[in-house]
Amino acid sequence: MDAILEARGLTKRFHGLVAVNGVSFQLRRGEILGLIGPNGAGKTTLVNMVSGTLAPTAGDLLFEGRSVRGVPAYRRAHLGIGRTFQVMKPFPGMSVLENVAVGALFGANGGERNLERARAWARACLESVGLGKRIAQRADALGGPDRKRLELARALAMKPRLLLLDEVMAGLNHVEIEEVIEDIRRVRAQGISILVIEHVMKAIKSLSDRVFVLHHGEKIVEGGTAEVLSDPRVVEAYLGRQRR
């Protein structure tokens, strides 16, 4: 199996702080790779470097075998990298449908140029995440869980080949989490490779093929989901602290 995404020694320094420190990993085509780690571990920073909103201080990043260093965020979107934001970034003054239509109009391969077709596809994406009844509302009128769904629909509308999900389940209740897990399963079934960042262990367990763990910006463990989650270092760094 070849890698759709490969990081080689990816590093990000903010002044004195090393947020991500020499992280290397591979995300295989078609797999769901889980990324866990305590708050401040550097997960979002890593996603920012992959999606192109932050430039790494050092290291290289290969998407489908080619280096994307220096490639701006919008070009990475055209290449097929889609993401959601932990701190959501909807277009507040636009309708829910328009929010998603932007992804359809500008996403992978530069997007769909025809407005009608883009809107139809956006509507399909909204229906797939259960927002079909909200398309005419303004995005800033949505409640928290619906905003998370909107964030997911916007990324899906781009027809990405790689999807980066940064805590899409934070703040959702059990029923909603189950729904989103189902949504993500369906996305993977379309052949989209996924990086899932999640604190919800149930989601990581049921979705991930493999998991890697960041702690203080460094990758401390990587491997099969069950084996990583029972690793003493992970329990120490992350799970143990949460249980108390």
């Binding site: 970034k89 277009f91 507040p92 407005l115």
Partner: protein, 322 residues
């Protein structure tokens, strides 16, 4: 992105066409003062509409638009006064100067956001005035005298034509992929980039489009007024006026800036003739009241006041107080 009722939209188009036809017939009423006022109001509406593209749609509050206006005025003036070229060649030069300058300026300053962008364009406006004041080709700080045409009706129709063109362009913009990209940039630039919008290109193109209409308005003004000097056409107060009119009418809407320009032109004209000394103070009060009670402009007011009633104003005061 709105579907709309076809019958209503047809009625709307007919009404708008009738308004344009009425406006076009106005010079035949034979009132010279009215035509003069009309030229000024139409040019201001075009400027507000031009500002609307970069300020209202892309969300970048430009103070550089008075530079595009000045460059347009000088394009026509230099072509006609220095080289005895016809007006239309001058207009091409105006267009070229304004658009080229917007492209260069845009690449330099459109990476700044919010206040930084505003202040930077403001500084550049001051620099341009100084530069043009020292150019012999532009007549230095004495200015340039253009040939006198003396046909006010023609200038009126030209200004109306340009306004209609600018408004049709914004109408297209509001429904196009390009326009949606600009709105996305305004609403959240990082989100837009990650979703595939080439933000730099789109912002620069919006700036150039904005400059095109602004420079052409400056060109018409120069030939109409027959004498221009740097202080007169590189006027920051004019830029402030465009912003006030666009924001008063409703930035990011198709007709709002035009309505805003017309209404404020009429108010300021009445105040100027009736109560000269306090006129500008009243003008200021109108603006403050408007911003407090209807911060999203006339177009938003018209669309929402009917369902919300007086609560519309109360809610605005609540939502936007500091």
């Amino acid at each position: 992105m709105r579907a709309g009722n076809p019958a209503r939209s047809a009625a709307r188009w007919i009404a708008l066409a009738a308004v344009v036809a009425l406006l076009a017939a106005l010079p035949w009423c034979g009132n010279a003062v009215l035509v003069q006022f009309g030229i000024s109001a139409l040019l201001l509406a075009t400027l507000a509409q031009g500002w609307n593209i970069i300020g209202g749609y892309a969300g970048y509050p430009s103070f550089g638009n008075s530079v595009f206006y000045g460059l347009g005025a000088y394009g026509v003036a230099i072509a006609m006064a220095q080289y005895q070229l016809p007006f239309w060649v001058g207009m091409l030069l105006a267009l070229g100067l304004g658009v080229a300058f917007a492209g260069l300026l845009g690449l330099a300053v459109l990476r700044l956001r919010g206040h930084y962008f505003a202040i930077c364009t403001l500084g550049l406006a001051l620099v341009m005035t100084a530069i043009v004041s020292n150019l012999p080709l532009a007549g230095g700080n004495i200015g340039l005298v253009l040939p006198l045409l003396g046909n006010a009706a023609l200038f009126y129709e030209l200004a109306l034509g340009l306004l209609v063109l600018a408004t049709l362009t914004v109408f297209w913009l509001a429904r196009s992929r390009f326009g949606l990209g600009l709105i996305a940039i305004r609403e959240n630039e990082e989100g837009a980039a990650v979703m595939g919008v080439n933000t730099t290109l789109y912002k620069v193109l919006a700036f150039m489009l904005s400059a095109a209409f602004t420079a052409l308005a400056g060109g018409i003004y120069a030939y109409y007024i027959t004498y221009i000097d740097p202080a007169g056409v590189f006027d920051l107060a004019l830029n402030v006026k465009m912003i006030i009119m666009a924001v008063f009418g409703g930035p990011g809407s198709v007709l709002g800036p035009v309505l805003g320009a017309f209404i404020l032109s009429v108010i300021s004209e009445i105040l100027a003739t009736k109560v000269t000394s306090v006129a500008s103070m009243f003008f200021g009060i109108v603006i403050v009241v408007a911003v407090v009670f209807m911060p999203r402009g006339i177009s938003h007011l018209v669309a929402h006041v009917r369902q919300a009633g007086w609560r519309y104003f109360v809610d605005n005061v609540r939502a936007h107080r500091l």
